[in-house]
Subunit: 190 residues, 2 copies
């Protein structure tokens, strides 16, 4: 997606340690006009899949998912990372390993919000090693729902998540795929 790639080049920054800072428009400050363009792009790709729910994970995925949901005219469900006092009843959980923080955490979705009648689109801001997304895929499977595909803003194509998910036969649509980056240099996949 040209405008996202241009924005990454203009306002993004590659830091040591494989960190891409896009906090001025994507995951700390949120450019809502850009989010709308991203939502339109997700809709253009997935519009014939009869999506009934968008599932994302707190926190950075929520805004992108909510704006995108306006095009799909469906609700958003966001998986919770922390055990919440407000979560009760039947729950789906998945264990996720965070490489960034080197720890395991559990993501949780109330069973009543993803059912076997649902066709689910998964959305998140970043895909790197794919651990969080594999957790969401696991929850969709546990719910017996249909998985329409995965929409990602920025995929780090040099990490394994994209290949893992595509090799599962899942329609993974990333708006920008970075194949190579270092401070001062970003190369997108054609």
């Amino acid at each position: 997606m040209e405008i996202l790639e241009q924005r990454i080049l203009k306002d993004g920054a590659v830091k040591e340690g494989g960190i891409l800072k896009v906090d001025s428009f994507l995951n700390h400050q949120c450019d809502i006009q850009l989010y709308n363009e991203m939502g339109k792009a997700f809709f253009a790709h997935f519009k014939d899949r009869h999506i009934t729910k968008i599932l994302t994970i707190e926190a950075s995925g929520i805004g992108i998912a909510c704006i995108a949901a306006q095009y799909f005219d469906c609700p958003v469900v966001f998986a919770k990372k922390a055990k919440s006092l407000n979560l009760d009843g039947s729950l789906y959980t998945a264990s996720v390993h965070s490489y960034t923080y080197d720890r395991e955490y559990t993501i949780t979705v109330s069973a009543k919000f993803i059912t076997r009648e649902d066709t689910v689109l998964l959305i998140d801001d970043f895909l790197a090693n794919g651990q969080a997304m594999l957790g969401l895929i696991d929850i969709v499977k546990k719910a017996g729902a249909s998985l329409a595909g995965v929409g990602i803003a920025i995929e780090k194509g040099f990490q394994s998540g994209g290949e893992t998910i595509r090799s599962m036969g899942i329609d993974l649509y990333s708006l920008a795929i970075i194949d190579e980056m270092r401070p001062g240099y970003i190369k997108f996949r054609k």
Copy 2:
């Protein structure tokens, strides 16, 4: 706001311990059409205040803030609860006490996203004792920005947050204020 109150009566549930469950439309599953009606209501109230930024806090505030921001045509910034590796540079922080989890946590906003040129609207899903909102107000002050007001979906009017914030002279606009609730009974402020 009539449709929010009706929705709380229809799909909300009061649990023991002062918990109002509205997870089917507000803070786990998100009804984006309702979010849009809430965004319009916030805009109707604050539209003449020349808002340049909406500031919220992860996670449940983000979706509501992003949808509302479409009416104000401004970016959203969300305060982070966890220390993130991606946060660097100058930061504003505030300490927040969570009564729900009985612990202190720190909320953080990059200084570059809230400046003295900004007029900030604070948005969140719930206001109870107001601790998280007081943390956001503290960050707006530290940034030297103007505070236009606070927009809340559901205020628990029987807890102290609303009175605290209004007594500071801040324009607090809550779409639904609950003055009394117990299992099976919810009374809204007129």
